[in-house]
Symmetry: C2
């Protein structure tokens, strides 16, 4: 029997990633994923709530962000708080190879992009809540989170292709880039 091999969750994730890459998301069944991991379809659903979740369940960035924001000294501005919290992201991320492969698969399959978007939205809501409880008003919290998420996404994409530069440096560089573009989008006469 193939039972009790250990790390069933990791085997399922690897199998799913490979099969999604080879046959597409719709083209692979949960039964195929389970079979490749030496498990049954029923066991797949014991580890993941649904088929898409197999590529997202491991992240768990939300709890990490909450703790990281908590660790920032009080009195720090909203954006600096977020950037400081984001700097420690790579510590909880998976290996770059896995993330690259995963990004390609997600980009190619609408159902997976859909799931990714709602994960982002959920993360944003969590971050907004954390900022609110630190005393920022709602509009500031929301805008800082949106802009901060854009910066984080940009930095993460760069990080996946750049093995040399430290993540913190990519993060501040991305923040500068975004600020430059944002300033360019508002006419000088309209600024307050």
């Amino acid at each position: 029997m193939a039972r009790w091999e250990g790390n069933a969750r990791g085997r399922l994730e690897r199998a799913a990633l490979t099969l999604f890459g080879e046959q597409g998301y719709d083209g692979t069944t949960v039964a195929q994923i389970a079979q490749r991991a030496n498990l049954t379809e029923r066991s797949f659903y014991r580890w993941f709530s649904d088929k898409r979740e197999v590529l997202f369940a491991g992240d768990d960035l939300e709890a990490h962000f909450l703790a990281a924001i908590e660790a920032v000294p009080a009195g720090t501005g909203a954006m600096p708080t977020l950037l400081a919290a984001f700097a420690s992201v790579p510590e909880v991320l998976r290996p770059r190879d896995f993330l690259r492969e995963r990004a390609v698969v997600i980009a190619a399959n609408p159902p997976l992009r859909e799931r990714e978007l709602i994960k982002m939205a959920s993360m944003s809501a969590t971050i907004v809540g954390a900022l609110l409880s630190r005393g920022f008003d709602e509009q500031t919290a929301r805008l800082a989170t949106e802009v901060g998420s854009a910066v984080l996404g940009l930095a993460t994409r760069r990080w996946m292709d750049d093995e040399q530069t430290a993540f913190a440096d990519l993060l501040s560089a991305s923040a500068s880039d975004l600020l430059a573009v944002a300033a360019d989008g508002v006419p000088a006469g309209k600024r307050s």
Copy 2:
């Protein structure tokens, strides 16, 4: 027979909205929706590609935005272009009552929120493309679209609860609000 009653699509949308509101999204089956509309489950899938799409298929805002952006005079800045294009949104929107009821149902059901997010993302991609083809660079186009979408969302939420004010006014008021918050998020010394 209940066939040939006309407006099958609208009957299905109404039935789905009501049932989702009464029993929740997961609690209502496609067969129930079809039955309430005097149709079969198979006919439901002739009108909508999947269960969630019954609340989203009618929008078709993308084509409208493309045309509206096209109609803006050349040489206009990115944000003003978007705001001008967005001003005509109510013309293609459904009745306020329908939208309000729909918003409540979507907010209460994760699968529907998921679908809404990907619709927004798709719309954003379309708008970015339209701005690119008008000569804006990629970063400007992307940022203007993100900020513009936030403004549009804010104005639309206000519009649903405010029967008096013209949509164009709500739109420019929302743009002002967002600018104020954005400026507040960047220290004066850091502005370029």
